[in-house]
């Protein structure tokens, strides 16, 4: 099969010849048009494919399958959506893709009921977090406190912060450098299990740790 025409289009330069105001014929250097090539890729970690929307002044194209791509040349509309091959993706984007930092390693910790004590299972994760940090160059660790929807949003931000601060302290006690560990709270705004307001839900009372 021949080379994908959209890739060729992207490289096309349009030569413009013009006359200057005083009448001397003059050849302008070739004018290159702005070009954008977009390709949707499967997630490197779990293979899931999301969606992307490519908007221009004259409309929108949707990318919704693995390696679906489209090109926009100059002020034109997005071109026909068609997949690139794996080889084309590597040829075109390999330099950027191989430079992508490692994906964040996520841990979720739970507390005993109405307590500031982690469950035994969650406490056992602390050394694993410390170990995971060693996999990352110039690591950052974010400790995020979450609550369920019982109580006001403001008080839950405080409660989440209190729990995140406790877990941050455990990580520092286990040997992590405090300068790389942040504690934050999402309060009740980032539920693991969707519930209505004022709902007790143990799975939402958690601390997430993101090592990146």
């Amino acid at each position: 099969m021949s080379r994908d025409p959209r890739l060729v289009v992207l490289l096309v330069t349009t030569a413009c010849a013009g006359l200057c105001a005083c009448g001397h014929p003059r050849v302008q250097p070739p004018q290159r048009q702005a070009g954008t090539l977009v390709v949707l890729l499967p997630d490197a970690d779990d293979g899931t494919v999301g969606r992307a929307f490519v908007s221009t002044t004259s409309g929108m194209a949707e990318l919704a399958s693995a390696r679906a791509s489209t090109s926009v040349v100059g002020n034109g509309a997005a071109g026909t959506v068609a997949p690139l091959s794996e080889a084309e993706v590597q040829t075109l984007f390999g330099s950027a893709l191989t430079t992508m930092p490692r994906h964040a390693h996520q841990f979720t910790l739970y507390f005993q009921f109405e307590s500031d004590e982690l469950t035994a299972e969650s406490r056992a994760l602390v050394p694993q977090v410390v170990q995971a940090v060693k996999d990352y160059p110039f690591p950052d660790v974010e400790v995020i406190g979450h609550t369920d929807t019982t109580g006001s949003a403001a008080s839950n931000v405080e409660l989440g912060m209190r729990r995140a601060t406790l877990v941050r302290r455990l990580l520092l006690d286990a040997g992590l450098d405090g300068s790389i560990v942040d504690a934050t709270s999402h309060g009740e705004a980032d539920l693991l299990v969707a519930t209505s307001d004022e709902t007790m839900e143990p799975r939402n009372r958690r601390v997430e740790i993101s090592v990146r």
């Binding site: 390709v39 499967p42 330099s95 893709l97 992508m100 930092p101 110039f138 950052d140 409660l159 912060m161």
Partner: protein, 150 residues
């Protein structure tokens, strides 16, 4: 019992800072990978990029003919640039407790790969990859773009 626990939590607010932050205040992310020639342009001053360096809103990253750079943002969004590329972080808002988020990257030229983080979940319409002639919106995904400047 639960009520009293929350009362205690409320009383503690005065002594617990909103963010027990250790990283550089206001940083949007950190450069994790650098190879070849890469500069960060901040307030019109270009300085060589180094791994471990913080990245802020309004920073521009520019790679040379042999340059590559990879950044992880505070919301776990990841971005990498190939050679001869330039991109500016026009907006970075990550305020999950207020359900606010926004990430706008302006790609001037070159090669860029993007992997969604928490902002894309928090505010699906808030993530935009802008090129000279297109705006790309995302729904939780990995993308690669190539931009040939005019």
């Amino acid at each position: 019992m639960l009520l009293s626990l929350r009362w205690i939590a409320g009383a503690l607010i005065v002594i617990i800072p909103v963010v027990a932050s250790a990283a550089e205040p206001g940083a949007a992310g950190r450069i994790k990978v650098v190879s070849g020639s890469v500069v960060v342009v901040r307030a019109a001053v270009a300085t060589p990029a180094t791994a471990g360096q913080a990245v802020f809103e309004a920073d521009t990253l520019r790679t040379g003919a042999n340059g590559r750079v990879g950044i992880t943002f505070n919301d776990d969004t990841r971005v990498s640039l190939g050679p001869d590329s330039e991109a500016r972080l026009d907006q970075f808002i990550y305020m999950p407790a207020e359900k606010r988020g926004g990430l706008v990257l302006r790609i001037v030229r070159g090669l860029i790969a993007y992997v969604s983080g928490r902002i894309a979940k928090l505010s699906p319409d808030g993530v935009k990859l802008e090129t000279p002639n297109a705006i790309v919106g995302v729904r939780g995904t990995t993308l690669a773009l190539r931009v040939d400047a005019k």
